[in-house]
Symmetry: C2
C-alpha cells in the first residue's frame, strides 16, 4: 500500500526536509515516528527538499507500507509520536506508482513580508520584515512579468547542479493585508532559492530601488546579478502541492 501524507510544520528547528548527516530534519523526524508506530523504518519520498527554516502549510510525502491500519487513522496515530512543530493533517491511500515529488504537477509557495516601521513582538519566525514602504500593487504588476515559461537561471542561487533552468509559473500574486504583504506563486517547479530571489526582486521594485523592466532584463540575461536580493527562509511557506490522482478507497 502507498500512503500520501499531508504535513504542516514549523521549519524553525529543522535543516529542511531532506535527511542530512548531523542535522535535524523533518524527514528523519517523520521516519522516527513511522518507526515507532510500525516497528519498521520506511523509506519516505517528499514533494520537495525545502531549505532550512522554511515552513509548510501542506507538505506532501508518500511511503509504501503493509499495514492493517486504515489511512484515516494515521494522522492521530502518527501525531502521538511527532513533536508539536510537525503535524500530520491528512493521510490517504494512493496508487502504487504515485510519487510525492514526480507526480506533482505544480507547487504553491507563500512568502510573508511584514511591512512596518515598528516591528511586531509576535510571530517573528513567520515573516521577513521590511521597514521601507512597499507598493504591493506595483509588486503585483511586476510579478506578472514572471508568469509563463521562462529560463529562470537569474533567479537561482549558486551551488545548484541543475542543468535545465526552464520553469513555468502559472500564477503569481502580491497582496497587502494590513501590515503584511503576501507573495503567492504557483509553478511546475522551482530552482534553488528561486522563490526567495523572485520575492527579493519584487521587494526592491516595491520600494523603488529597481524598475519592473529589470525582471525582463534578468529573464533575458540569465545573470544572477540582474535579479534582486535573496530573502531569508523564515518568511517562506510551502502552501500547496497539486496532483492529478484518483484516490483509492481505504
Amino acid at each position: 500500500m502507498n500512503f500520501l501524507i499531508t504535513l504542516a510544520f514549523d521549519g524553525t528547528a529543522y535543516h529542511g526536509f531532506q535527511v542530512q548527516k548531523n542535522a535535524n530534519t523533518v524527514c528523519e523526524t517523520f521516519q522516527n515516528a513511522l518507526e515507532q508506530l510500525f516497528g519498521v523504518r520506511y523509506d519516505v519520498k517528499g514533494c520537495s527538499r525545502t531549505d532550512a527554516g522554511v515552513h509548510a502549510l501542506a507538505f506532501e510525502l508518500n511511503f509504501h507500507a503493509e499495514t492493517s491500519i486504515p489511512a484515516q487513522k494515521l494522522p492521530l496515530a502518527l501525531n502521538r509520536f511527532l513533536p508539536q512543530d510537525i503535524r500530520v493533517l491528512e493521510a490517504k491511500q494512493v496508487p502504487e506508482e504515485f510519487h510525492a515529488r514526480y507526480s506533482a504537477h505544480s507547487k504553491e509557495y507563500v512568502y510573508r513580508i511584514r511591512n512596518s516601521g515598528i516591528d511586531s513582538p509576535f510571530d517573528k519566525q513567520y515573516y521577513w520584515r521590511c521597514t521601507q514602504p512597499l507598493d504591493a500593487e506595483k509588486m503585483n504588476q511586476a510579478a506578472q512579468l514572471l508568469v509563463g515559461k521562462h529560463n529562470f537561471s537569474a533567479f537561482m542561487s549558486a551551488g545548484s547542479s541543475i542543468v535545465d533552468t526552464v520553469r513555468t509559473i502559472y500564477c503569481f500574486s502580491v497582496k497587502r493585508e494590513g501590515e503584511v504583504v503576501c507573495c503567492t506563486v504557483q509553478a511546475d517547479g522551482y530552482l534553488y532559492n528561486m522563490v526567495r530571489i523572485m520575492c527579493g526582486t519584487l521587494v526592491e521594485i516595491g520600494y523603488g530601488k529597481m524598475q519592473p523592466e529589470q525582471i525582463t532584463k534578468a529573464l533575458a540575461s540569465g545573470n544572477r546579478q540582474d535579479a534582486g536580493i535573496t530573502l531569508p527562509a523564515q518568511g517562506l511557506f510551502l502552501s500547496k502541492v497539486c496532483y492529478n490522482i484518483q484516490e483509492e478507497g481505504d
Copy 2:
C-alpha cells in the same frame, strides 16, 4: 510632561506586567529601557497588571519625565533598548493628571481558542486548543447573558483581596474564523482571572457540557463552582484600552 505609551508584547517570557521580586516582568524591562534612554529610573503606571503569559496588542502605560525628546520620537528611541518581544507602538503627551489605569473607562480582551481535532504546528504560544467541536453561535448567545452590570464574584479566582466584585460588561462577542474561535469582551474592569473563567464557561457551553442558564445561575449565586474552568493564560490578549482624553500638543 506626562507620556502615554502604547506597547505590544508577547507575554510568554514574562511574569505579567507588574514588577515582582525575582521575576522577569514587562514593567521592569520597560523601566530598564527608559533608564538607558534618559539616564534616570522613572516610575511607570500600567493600565493593568496582566497575568504571567498573557499578551498585549495595545497595553497602555504612562510616566512623567522632563525631556526635550518629542513624544513621536520615543517609539524608535525606546525600541532600540527593548527586547524584540516588547515593542512601543505609539507615544503621546497627555495631561499631567492622566493615569493609565485610573483614567481608563474600559478595556477590551480577546481570548483565542484553536478548535481543531489536529493541532497546528504554528503559534502554539498564542492560543488555547480545544479538541471538542465548539458551537460558536451558541457561545455568542450565552455571552450576552454576561453583558451588563453584574456581581461577577463567581467568575473570580481565589486569592484576590478585591471587595467590590461588581463590574459592567459593555459587549461580548464570540466569532469563529476557520479553526479559531475568538472571544472579545469589553468591560469597565475585570476581577482576577475573570476573562479566562468567563471564556472557560462559554467553552463548556460551546461543547454541550453546560447549559447557557448556568451563567444566570452563577451570576445570581456568586459561587465559583457554578462557573466553568479557567482557561490558560497563553490565549489571552489585552487588545484595547479606552480613554476620554484630549491629547496635548507635542
